[in-house]
Each structure stands twice: as structure tokens, then as C-alpha cells.
Amino acid sequence: MRTFEQKWTAWLDGQLSGSELTEFEASLPDKAAAEAEKANAKKLGALLKREIGAHGLANEEFFSHQLRERIARESARPSRERDGGVSTWWTIRRLLWTGTASLAVFLAFAIFVMHDKNPAEQSQYLTQILNARVDPVVSPNATISMFEAKEDRVTVLWTEGLQSLPADYAAK
């Protein structure tokens, strides 16, 4: 059993027929006012259908356009980018090789620099005499000089004027 509101809605929509339509229209207190209201409802329905329908279509087209553009962009990208992983030239193997090669180059340079440095610093590796002195009481006329025989890498402290000693002092 439908209520009055349900019957009213069905009547507005034109869905009542037969005895049900006759009974409902007979139950209306002011049929003219009801007919006017039905006409207004129909107009409103048509208007809404037209406006909402047109708007919905525009959104659908916009979405389709967006979707087509995205598909086109995706298609234009290189395949490896679409795969998701960011590829790089530095693989593990290449990193290892590059590291090893860098160390080798460093060692080569280090050896070269050290080898090149030695001649310049050769004097540093000759024996150096920091100071020398003789007893002025025992040998008042003694003089001291020093030199390096670089060819033989021998350093010499040369004294002159030391007190001469008899041959006996050469004993072991």
C-alpha cells in the first residue's frame, strides 16, 4: 500500500494509471493547482537534465583528453624509463675497475715523484757534520774543515795542525 507522498511522486512522474490514477486525482483537493505543480516539476526536471547532462559530458571529455595525453607522453618515453629503474653508467664492476685503476695511477705517480725527488735531496742523505772543535790548549794552531766527496758519498772532517805524535801511538 503506497503512501500519499509515494503516489504524488509517481503522479508527477506520470507513472500512475488506471483506477489508481483515477482514485488519486479524485483525492486531490485542488486538481488545477496540482496540475500546475506537475507542469513546473516537469520543466524543472527537463532543465536539470539538460544542464547536468551537458556538464557531465564536458567533464568526461576533459578526463578523456587528459588520459590520451598521458598515454601519448608515456609512449614517447624510452623503454628503460618506463621500466621504473633509473639506470647508471657506474655499475659495480666499473666502479671496481675505476678504483683499481685510480690506485695504480696514484702509485705510479708516487713512485715517479719519489724517484725524481731523490737526486735533489741526495745531499740530505750524505753524512753531515754539525759542528767540530779541538782542544785549543793541546792544539792551539789546529784548524778544521769539512767537505763531501759526493761521487763516493763520503763526508770528511779534515783537521790540520793537530799535535803530531810518535809512531808508538800507532800500536793496537
Binding site: R93, L96, W97, T100, L103, A104, Q124, Y125, L126, T127, Q128, I129, L130, N131, A132, R133, V134, D135, V138, S139, E148, A149, E151, D152, R153, V154, T155, V156, L157, W158, T159, L162, Q163, S164, L165, P166, A167, D168, Y169, A170, A171, K172
Partner: protein, 147 residues
């Protein structure tokens, strides 16, 4: 690849481990030498073979005889020792080690009398020769060599 890397690492480790050992304990030979010109010279002592040519060229003698000597193994670079003959004494006082060799204080005594004193940096590669007093017809030389 892994094999090469392991070899390379081993090579580097070897260099790093061996390098400090190159400056380990060393022996310093110190000698009192009488240089003379004689008709029939004796062969040069083995300790002086290394410097035979400069000894003969610089001092002009044809015979070199060791009258006193000492070989000292330096471990800390702070040792001291004596090389003595009947009348002479060479006191060597090591006062530290440098990259090139040892810092030494040398004192030459004639019996108890100090004749000569010097401070040197004795290099591993470079012997030191000190011309001492005239002794008879010859010459006293002091020689120090890192062996």
C-alpha cells in the same frame, strides 16, 4: 676480477708492512785506522773496502790498518760505545735517529786527553772519515760506517 683485486690488496699490504722494517736495527762500525805509505802495503781491511778508493785519493796513502774498532747494533738510536786502541779512544754517543741516519756525538781521546769533538748526522748511505793527528810517518783516521 676478484683475484686481481686480492693480489693488488696483498701487494699494498706487503709494501705497508715492509716499509717500517727498512729502518730496523742497524750496525754502526767505528774504527781507528792508521794510514801509511809503505813499500809493500797490506790488503785493505774488509770494513774499509767500500771506501778504499776515496781513502786513497783523498789522503794519499797506500795502506790502511785498523788499530781499534767496534761494531754496535743500534736498536734505540740512544746507545754509546767505545772503539779503542792502545793509546786512542773514540767514544761514540748516539743521540737519536733521523730519517737519514743517526745523530752522533764523537770524542777522540789520546789516553785521557780530549783531542777532538764533533757532532754529526751519520747517514746510512754515507760513511764519515775524520782526519786525526799525524802519528809517526802515518796518519790517524777515524771511520764510521752504517753497515
Amino acid at each position: 676480477m676478484a683475484r686481481w683485486l686480492a693480489l693488488f690488496t696483498a701487494f699494498i699490504a706487503l709494501i705497508v708492512s715492509v716499509a717500517p722494517e727498512l729502518h730496523g736495527a742497524e750496525t754502526v762500525w767505528s774504527g781507528l785506522v792508521i794510514a801509511e805509505n809503505v813499500a809493500q802495503p797490506q790488503p785493505i781491511p774488509p770494513e774499509l773496502t767500500r771506501i778504499e778508493r776515496p781513502l786513497k785519493q783523498l789522503f794519499g796513502y797506500n795502506q790502511f790498518q785498523v788499530i781499534g774498532q767496534s761494531s754496535k747494533i743500534l736498536k734505540t738510536g740512544q746507545e754509546d760505545w767505545l772503539a779503542i786502541s792502545k793509546f786512542f779512544g773514540l767514544h761514540v754517543d748516539a743521540r737519536g735517529e733521523t730519517e737519514a741516519g743517526y745523530v752522533l756525538n764523537l770524542k777522540l781521546y789520546k789516553e785521557k786527553e780530549l783531542l777532538l769533538e764533533t757532532d754529526t748526522k751519520l747517514s746510512r748511505r754515507s760513511p764519515l772519515v775524520i782526519k786525526g793527528p799525524q802519528v809517526g810517518s802515518g796518519q790517524l783516521l777515524l771511520v764510521l760506517v752504517v753497515q
